[in-house]
């Protein structure tokens, strides 16, 4: 759970950085998109292989993450046969409480996201294009698409908020009250960074600050 979670957070940071290349214009972004699918690690491995190795690695991380989550969830359900008539929450945060159903929503929207931009089968505005730049402009020119995306990124960042802290605690880094404060602070910082980093580009497209 912790290790695969941290891999996924690392991917999110990289993805966020990549999205910001939209601000550098069509040529730069499309070149970056081509490079991702093209000659990374070439000539060590043949051209075009890296993206598939990387996809296999990400799928493995996601599958193992979901497997761990389902195991934890089913153990928790089995260990809680009767609910309390009254239950008061003292320590749990909203993000900690919503890790499981939040994760389900997040995964569902991830499938839509891949269908939209990777498979190019669920585009809501404009045709499938060889230019990733044009597709991104097309999709985020629709106000409700930006809204859906904004809500999706909220679920992602809430998941990261509890997940980052929890991953480090599982790996043994919660050594004192101060360590707890630092880890939770880092979790907040990374979650906010991801939110801002992922949202400025679609908002800029929506308001026409980035155009084709």
């Amino acid at each position: 759970m912790a290790i695969t979670g941290l891999i996924l957070i690392g991917f999110l940071l990289m993805h966020m950085y990549g999205n910001l290349k939209m601000f550098l214009g069509a040529e730069s972004f499309d070149h970056y998109a081509e490079w991702l699918k093209g000659d990374i690690l070439y000539p060590l491995i043949p051209k075009g292989w890296f993206i598939w190795l990387f996809r296999a690695f990400m799928v493995a991380a996601i599958v193992l993450h979901i497997y761990s989550a389902v195991t934890l969830w089913s153990r928790a359900v089995a260990a809680n046969p009767t609910a309390y008539a009254a239950k008061k929450k003292l320590a749990q945060t909203y993000s900690a409480r919503t890790m499981r159903w939040g994760g389900v929503i997040l995964a569902g929207l991830l499938i839509f996201h891949l269908a939209q931009f990777t498979v190019k089968a669920a585009l809501v505005n404009g045709p499938a294009s060889a230019s990733s730049y044009d597709m991104v402009i097309g999709e985020f020119s629709v106000w409700w698409m930006v809204l859906v995306y904004a809500l999706w990124i909220v679920t992602v960042c809430m998941h990261v908020r509890h997940g980052l802290w929890s991953a480090f605690a599982t790996l043994g880094a919660n050594t004192s009250a101060k360590a707890r404060a630092v880890l939770n602070g880092c979790a907040w910082a990374i979650a906010l960074l991801l939110y801002i980093g992922f949202m400025i580009m679609p908002v800029a497209v929506l308001f026409g600050w980035i155009r084709s």
Partner: protein, 253 residues
């Protein structure tokens, strides 16, 4: 004070349980919560009804026998800044005329025996799996023979204050007994006497913890909030460190 109680009544382990409402009159604010239940039971006995079964022993907060969920928090800590056991909770914490929900610890591995009393022998089995040291018996060794650093000793002692009441399990949304297990692990891991079995102990104790049907820890933190002995939340990370280290130890030694 006059108090309305909604108490979980369950005749035995296999019977259906339900919340039953009782009125308790003339409660003194200086009574402990358990004394208030005694008052209710006297009244029920005089009426010829079955008194409410609940566990208790020392009534001074050190034995770990008592424990019920009061208004949704284990031991009834509520909003108070001071963690407490049920026996050390006093009626002055409640307002006159209050309605109080009283329920047993709810977790699969803690089956209800009757009313508010639950079977916590799952904890005993976790301890039997490794919560001890194997030492040759004989005369007590001279204390200075095995020096322990101050910080280590403090940490061991903080963890050793666990009374095994089960509030951590009752409060945990996953019904995990990780704080309890971590307290025992940390207690022995900090002391020289605990070293020979340090990395085999953790594997056997965690295995029994899982076999008993407790859930897994997801670092939510409810356990440490209700712990009457304030077992630090970071003992769980100590447990995780030792567990990770144990994976690289031959034969778990």
């Amino acid at each position: 004070m006059n108090i309305t109680l909604r108490i979980w009544r369950q005749a035995n382990a296999s019977a259906e349980g339900r919340m039953v409402t009782y009125q308790v009159q003339d409660v003194s604010a200086d009574m402990s919560f358990l004394e208030m239940l005694d008052l209710l039971n006297e009244d029920l006995t005089l009426k010829g009804e079955e008194p409410v079964a609940f566990d208790h022993d020392c009534r001074e907060g050190i034995c770990g026998m008592c424990g019920v969920v009061i208004n949704g928090t284990a031991h009834g800590r509520g909003e108070s800044p001071v963690p407490t056991t049920t026996c050390q909770l006093h009626m002055r914490s409640f307002e006159d005329g209050a309605t109080i929900d009283v329920e047993p610890w709810r977790a699969g591995p803690f089956p209800v025996i009757k009313d508010l009393a639950v079977d916590r022998s799952a904890f005993d089995r976790i301890i039997q799996a490794g919560g001890f040291i194997s030492a040759n018996t004989g005369a007590a060794p001279e204390a200075h023979a095995a020096p322990v650093g101050k910080l280590q000793a403090d940490r061991a002692f903080d963890a050793a204050t666990c009374i095994g009441c089960g509030a951590c399990v009752a409060a945990c949304p996953n019904s995990s007994a990780m704080l309890f297990t971590a307290a025992k692990i940390t207690h022995l891991a900090m002391l020289p006497q605990g070293q020979p079995e340090r990395y085999s102990r953790i594997k056997t104790m965690i295995a029994v913890h899982d076999e008993e049907g407790f859930g897994g820890c997801t670092n939510i933190g409810e356990c440490a909030e209700v712990c009457p002995k304030q077992i630090p939340f970071d003992t769980i990370s100590q447990l995780n460190r030792d567990l990770i280290a144990s994976l690289f130890k031959k034969d778990g030694k």
